[in-house]
Symmetry: C2
Subunit: 222 residues, 2 copies
């Protein structure tokens, strides 16, 4: 059975692959699971039909038979649990990979999202500059710790896992900010993630929504 | 094997049970798993010994034989996966309960934590009042959706689960704010969570750290 996910009809990031469907697409590519996509407009996201799938009126959602899920982290975990490739077989290593999934979503992503809120929702405030600096300081504090832990490692805990997938995706939100420049090992880590063929396929598929070209066409153009 | 968790030596909430060890204590009580606690000072949390357990220098951590975890969400999930009582047996219901865990941590908690950051870290700013109002507005937006979804239900998806445990804990952070007053069903939901004997035992245990009385003594005093 092919699952159906939802994505923005018009992504606010113009196809940079920062919307939350990107993590789900990437996870599905990692495990080799084909999927269908249903595009949702901003107004449809807030209507009852979509809220039956996601009470908070957001994308992505995931439907597979009689199972309906929301939250990109939960969907990635579901995919990782049902298919080989995103979580190690060893019980302790598997638990540590899941720990990194939670660490991304609870400890790293919130400080990064705050910077975006500052930039896009509070840019007209007189205190915007001051708040932005505070937000960036909090990001650097987390990245200091993350960079130290990653060290010279290729991935966060041995083999690539769902934890790395989510972490790379959230660090990508900082591209263009200059903040990652102080952390060469984190830049290399993101580059390693983006270099995976699975990432490329997922990226092209979400970009095709924006450009209107099918992703296979995009690949031929490249 | 009895696991060891870490908690604040001096909790900033003075024993209100809002520190992240409370979720882990409550989960351990729900599944009937005894545990040891090692208290950590603010300075020790930032040292290499503790950072080997949690790279971000936070509590709680969880040690069990050769397994070391961090992130309260991940630890609660680990407990829920290894013991009966926090996740349904039915596969789809289990996946939905896990979805709620992620929803708490990714969608509800971040907006609530922003209010605390505003109150405790930005109270000396001239823009403090304006920021606080914005933070509260974002919280209400999430609570509108959450309250609608919960409706007249007892728990988020049928039986009490690890998703409810985390959600009740995060909503408790709003006590005293007056924000929950507009959502009688969410107040009743939090009260239902706090009425569980497992909650009471976990709460007393964390309070005992602050009062210096063993929790059994507290129970006798009550």
């Amino acid at each position: 059975m092919i699952p159906t996910i939802t994505a923005f009809e018009q992504s606010p990031d113009h196809g940079q692959g920062l919307a939350r469907d990107m993590s789900v697409r990437w996870a599905l590519e990692e495990v080799g699971q084909p999927y269908d996509v249903r595009l949702v407009s901003f107004s449809a996201m807030k209507e009852a039909t979509h809220r039956a799938l996601n009470p908070f009126g957001q994308i992505p959602t995931y439907e597979e038979g009689d199972l309906a899920l929301f939250e990109s982290g939960a969907i990635v975990f579901h995919i990782a649990e049902r298919h080989a490739g995103l979580l190690p077989n060893d019980a302790n290593a598997r638990t540590r990979a899941i720990t990194w999934m939670f660490a991304v979503l609870s400890t790293v992503e919130p400080v990064i999202v705050q910077r975006e809120i500052s930039m896009y929702l509070e840019h007209d405030k007189v205190w915007h500059e001051e708040r932005l600096l505070i937000a960036e300081e909090r990001i650097r504090s987390r990245l200091d710790d993350l960079s130290t832990r990653l060290g010279a490692g290729e991935w966060l805990d041995g083999a690539f896992s769902a934890g790395d997938l989510l972490m790379v995706q959230v660090l990508r939100r900082l591209s263009g900010s200059g903040i990652l420049d102080d952390y060469p090992n984190l830049i290399a880590y993101v580059v390693r993630g983006e270099a995976r063929p699975t990432f490329k396929r997922a990226f092209d598929a979400q970009l095709a929504v924006f450009t209107g070209k099918p992703s296979s066409q995009l690949e031929r153009d490249a």
